[in-house]
C-alpha cells in the first residue's frame, strides 16, 4: 500500500497535460473565425454530436460605459433588445413610431417644467403627467406584445436570456440546427434597428429587478456598498443594475444615444457552437450582419482609480445573519501577475482542500462557508481580490475577519508545498476539459477569451501561464497585493435588539 501511494504522488503534475494539448489541436480544426468588413467578428465551433446549435453575442459594453447620472443604462438597453424591431412587435409601425415620438415630446415638456426647480408649477406638472400617461397608452396600443420572444420560443429556442455586467453584455440562446438562419435574422435585426417600445414600462420592470436583487437581499446590499466604497473614481464604483434614482430618470433618447455610441459592429463578437457549417454561417453572416454600418469604436479610457492609501470599512445594518468580505486591490487581467493570483485563489479556496475551507469551516467550525474570488467585479480594469465568510451561529464577524488575516499572513510568510501547487494546477487543467463539453459553454468561453485577450486560444494557453507559476510567485503576489493599505472591509451586522 505504501509504495503505491508514494508512486501515485508523483503522477499529478502530469495529469491531463497531454489531453489538453490534444484537445487544443482538435479545436484548431473545429474552430473557424472571420471578421466582416464592418468589424464584426464571428467564431464558429463545429460540434455535430446533435442537431442543435447555441449562439452567444458578446458585446464589449457594460456598466463601466454608463454615462454619469445614468448608471444602469447599459442594463436598460439590454432589456430593450428584446422589444423587437420595426417589423417585429408592432401592429402598425408608422403609427406606433409617431405615437412613441409624441411621448418623448411631452416628456421633454415635463422635464422642462421640472427643471425650473422651485419655480416649477405643480399644476402644470400634473397636467403634463396626465398627457404623458395618455400618450403612452396610445403608443402601447400598437404593440404586439413580446413578439420577439414568441418567435424564438415557438421555434424551439431554449434558455433565451441576457445579462449585463461591469465589462460586458451577453445575449444567448439555442435553437434546433435547422433554425440557424432564423437566429441570423433575429439577432441582426435587433442590433440593426432596435425599437425602444414600452420604454417607460420596462423602466419600472428594471426598477423591480433592482428591488429584488439588491434592496431585498442583505448580500446584494453589501456587495453594492463594497463596490461603492472600494472604488472612489473608477466606474466599478457602480453596480450594473444602477442606482434607484438614475433608473427612475432614464429617458428613451439617452438609451438611443448609448446604443449609437457603443453597439458598433467592431465592439461585437458572435459565437456559434454546435451543428453548424462554417461556410454557410459565413454566407449568412455577410447577408444579415453585413448590413450593420461600420462605426468607430468607443473609447476604452475610464477614470483611473487613484492608489488607495489606507484601509476602508463599510457596514450594513441588517437583521440577516452576518456576512463578511475583505477586498484587496489587484491589477487588471493583463497583469503578468494574473496567473499567480488565480493560483493563489485556488490554493485558498478551491474544493475541499482549500486553505480557508479547511481552517475556518472544517477545523475551527467558525464559518458556514468561506472562500475567495480572484477578480471582482470585472477584469478589464484593475479590480479586487476577495476573501469572504459567512460566520457560523454564535461566531462573530470580527473573529472571522481576524482568522482571514491569519490565513493571509500564512500565505505571505510560508511558501505553499509542491503537492498543493501540483494539485491546483491539475485541477485548473481538468476544469478546462470539463468546460468543453457543451455548446453554450463553448460559445461563451471562446467569445470571452477572444474579446479579452485577442485570441480564443488563450483559453488553452492560459494553462501554460499557470504551469509557470512557482510557489515563490504565489508568495510574492500575496505579499504584494494582500496589504492593509489596499483593503476594503465590508460586512453586515445585526443591530442591537435584532431587526431595525
Amino acid at each position: 500500500m505504501r509504495p503505491r501511494f508514494a508512486l501515485f504522488l508523483l503522477i499529478p503534475a502530469l495529469l491531463a497535460a497531454q489531453s489538453v494539448a490534444d484537445l487544443q489541436k482538435s479545436f484548431e480544426k473545429k474552430v473557424t473565425e472571420f471578421t466582416l468588413a464592418n468589424g464584426l467578428h464571428f467564431i464558429v465551433i463545429e460540434r455535430h454530436e446533435a442537431p442543435v446549435v447555441s449562439f452567444h453575442t458578446y458585446m464589449n459594453v457594460g456598466s463601466v460605459d454608463d454615462p454619469s447620472a445614468e448608471s444602469g443604462l447599459a442594463h436598460m438597453f439590454e432589456h430593450m433588445a428584446f422589444k423587437g424591431t420595426p417589423t417585429i412587435g408592432t401592429k402598425n409601425w408608422p403609427e406606433e413610431k409617431a405615437a412613441m415620438d409624441a411621448v418623448d415630446v411631452i416628456y421633454n415638456l415635463l422635464d422642462a417644467e421640472r427643471n425650473k426647480g422651485p419655480r416649477a408649477d405643480p399644476k402644470k406638472i400634473a397636467a403634463i403627467e396626465a398627457d404623458l400617461e395618455t400618450a403612452m397608452q396610445k403608443a402601447d396600443s400598437y404593440v404586439e406584445p413580446n413578439e420577439y420572444d414568441r418567435v424564438v420560443e415557438s421555434n424551439g429556442g431554449l434558455d433565451m436570456n441576457a445579462g449585463t455586467g461591469e465589462d460586458s453584455t451577453n445575449y444567448y440562446y439555442s435553437f434546433p440546427s435547422n433554425r440557424i438562419e432564423l437566429w441570423f435574422l433575429l439577432e441582426s435585426e435587433r442590433f440593426l434597428h432596435p425599437v425602444f417600445r414600452e420604454f417607460y414600462k420596462e423602466r419600472d420592470v428594471v426598477r423591480e429587478e433592482r428591488r429584488m436583487r439588491v434592496e431585498s437581499s442583505s448580500q446584494g446590499k453589501l456587495v453594492e456598498a463594497l463596490s461603492a466604497t472600494a472604488f472612489a473614481a473608477h466606474p466599478y464604483h457602480n453596480e450594473p443594475g444602477g442606482w434607484a434614482s438614475d433608473i427612475d430618470h432614464f429617458r428613451r433618447p439617452a438609451a438611443q444615444r448609448f446604443y449609437q455610441q457603443y453597439y458598433v459592429p467592431a465592439n461585437m463578437t458572435l459565437g456559434i457552437a454546435g451543428d453548424v457549417n462554417p461556410a454557410q454561417a459565413r454566407k449568412l453572416a455577410e447577408k444579415y450582419f453585413g448590413r450593420l454600418p461600420a462605426r468607430p469604436l468607443p473609447s476604452q479610457y475610464r477614470t483611473v482609480e487613484p492608489p488607495q492609501e489606507g484601509e476602508k470599512r463599510v457596514t450594513i445594518s441588517s437583521p440577516a445573519q452576518p456576512f463578511l468580505i475583505l477586498a484587496y486591490k489587484r491589477p487588471d487581467r493583463h497583469s503578468p501577475d494574473d496567473a499567480a493570483l488565480s493560483v493563489l485563489d485556488a490554493v485558498l479556496s478551491d474544493g475541499r482542500t482549500g486553505l480557508i475551507y479547511k481552517d475556518m469551516v472544517r477545523d475551527k467550525q467558525m464559518a458556514l462557508g468561506a472562500g475567495s474570488q480572484p477578480q471582482f467585479p470585472g477584469g478589464k480594469y484593475p479590480s479586487l481580490f476577495l476573501l469572504y465568510s459567512a460566520p457560523s451561529t454564535g461566531r462573530s464577524a470580527e473573529e472571522n475577519e481576524k482568522e482571514l488575516y491569519q490565513i493571509v499572513e500564512q500565505v505571505k510568510t510560508t511558501k505553499i508545498d509542491q503537492q498543493t501547487l501540483d494539485r491546483v494546477k491539475t485541477k485548473l487543467r481538468a476544469a478546462l476539459i470539463r468546460k468543453l463539453g457543451s455548446n453554450t459553454g463553448l460559445a461563451v468561453e471562446l467569445c470571452t477569451y477572444y474579446v479579452n485577450y485577442g485570441d480564443w486560444r488563450k483559453l488553452f494557453t492560459e494553462l501554460d501561464d499557470y504551469e509557470k507559476v512557482t510557489a515563490e510567485d504565489v508568495q510574492r503576489v500575496a505579499k504584494t497585493y494582500l496589504v492593509p493599505e489596499h483593503l476594503t472591509v465590508a460586512y453586515t451586522f445585526v443591530p442591537e435588539g435584532g431587526a431595525k
Binding site: 431554449l158 435547422n178 435574422l185 423591480e208 429587478e209 447577408k287 454600418p293 469551516v361 472544517r362
Partner: protein, 474 residues
Amino acid sequence: MTRRLLLGALLATAALAQSVPSYQQLVYPPLKQVKIPEPVSFRLKNGMQVFLLEDHELPLINGLALVRTGNLFDPADKRGLSTILADVLRSGGTHARTGDQIDEELENIAASVESNMGETNASLSFSGLKETAGTVLRVFKEVMTDPEFRQDKIDLSISQMNSGIDRRNDDPQGIVEREISSVIYGRDNPYGWNIEHADMAHIQRSDLQAFYRRYYFPKNTMLAIYGDFSAPEMRTQLEELFADWNTEQPPVPAFPAVTAKPAPGVFLAEKSDVTQTFFAIGELSGTLRDPDYPALEVAVNILGSGFTSRLMSQIRTKMGLAYSIGAGWGANYDHPGTFRIVGSTKSATTAEAIVASRAEVEKMRAAEVSEQELKSAKDAVLNSFVFFFDSPAKTLNRVMMYQYYGYPKDFLFEYQKKVTAVTRADVLRVMREHIHPANLSIVAVGNPKDFGKPLSDVGKVQQIDLSIPPAPAK
C-alpha cells in the same frame, strides 16, 4: 487605414441594399435525425442495476448512483437525519481512511465524489479524468459501501445544519418557496415540515449507521456511468470492484403518502428589511402519470412559462409590476407536486400584483385560449424536443430515472404525441378540473407597513410566525 475604413463603409452600404426576408418567409430544412444512444444495461451479481454509456468526446468519466431512500423517511423527532447522513457519508471517511485523506487523494487527481439526499432518492456521484478512472471508482465504491461516520464530521455537519437553520429567514425568495410548500402539504409531515434545532440535538452516530444499513444495499441501488471508457471492460471492472458488497435488506417500503388537505387563504410572513413582497399562489398538483399531464403542461405554460406567457405579458410587460413572475404545474414522478405562481413586486403594489395574478388563473378557466397561444405553446415544446437528446448524459440520466420511478421507456415520446394532440378545449377542461380557485393558498413575504392596498383586499389574512425555535437546553 483610411482606405480600409472607406472600403468597409462601401461594402456596408452595398449590403444594406440587399434585402433580407421577414421571419415569416423563412423556410426551414427538415431537422436532421437525432442519434439517440442506447445505454448498456445489466445487473451485477450482487443485484445492483447498472447503465453504461460510452461518450468519447472528452477524456472524462462521470457516474451517478441512485439509492431508493429519501428525506421523506426522516423520523418525526429527527427531521434532517438523512441529510446529515448523506453529508457525513462522504465527509466522515471510510473504514480505511478519513474524509480529509479522501479529499486530498481525490483533489490531487482533480476528481470528486459527492453524496446528496433528495426527497425521493439519495444520490452519490463521481467525476474524474479518464486516466485516473480506476482510483476514482475505487474511492467511490469505498465511500458507498464502507462509510465510517466519524464523530468529528457528524458534529461538523450538525453545526453546519444549525447555522443553516439560523439563516433560513435571510432570503425572502427562500422563505416564500418553503412556506408555500408547508402551507400546501401541511407542517405535520415530511412533505411540509421544517428541520429545527431540536431535531439536530437528537441525532446520534448510531442513527446514521442504522439509516445507512437499512437503505444502502446493492439491490436498492442503481448506477449510471458515462464517459470515455469501453463498456465491456467497465462491466468487468465493476463486477470485480463490487464483488464484496453483498449486504441484503428487505425491500424498501413505499414513501409516505401525501395527506394534504386544501388550505385556502392568505398567509403573511412579515419581513422588515425588504422593498419587495415575494409571493406564491398554489395548490396540490399531480404526477407525470396523470393522463391530463401533457395538457396541463401546455395550459400552465400558456399561463406562466417563459417571456410570452400571460403572467409575463400582463404583470411584467403591461403593468410593469414585476421583474420575476411565472407559473409551473410542478408534477413529480411519484407523488403530487405543487402548482404554483411565484413572483415579486414592490411593497406598495403587493395586493395589486397578487389580485392580477389570480385573475389570470380565472381567465384561463373562463374561456378557451386563442389558437395562436395554443400553437405557440405546443410549438415551443415540440420544436425544442431535440434538446432532450443533445447530450449522452441527458439520455442516460433519463433512462435511469424512468426505471427508478417505474416509468415506461417510451414515456417521453408518448408525452410528445399527447402534446401534439392537445386542443383549446383540453386546455380549458384541465384548467377547470385541476385548478381550484377556492382552494388556492397565497403566501406573501414582505413588509406590511409599506403595502399600498391592504393584503386583506386579497382575502382573510393569517400570520406565519417565522421565528426560529431555539435549541432545547442541554
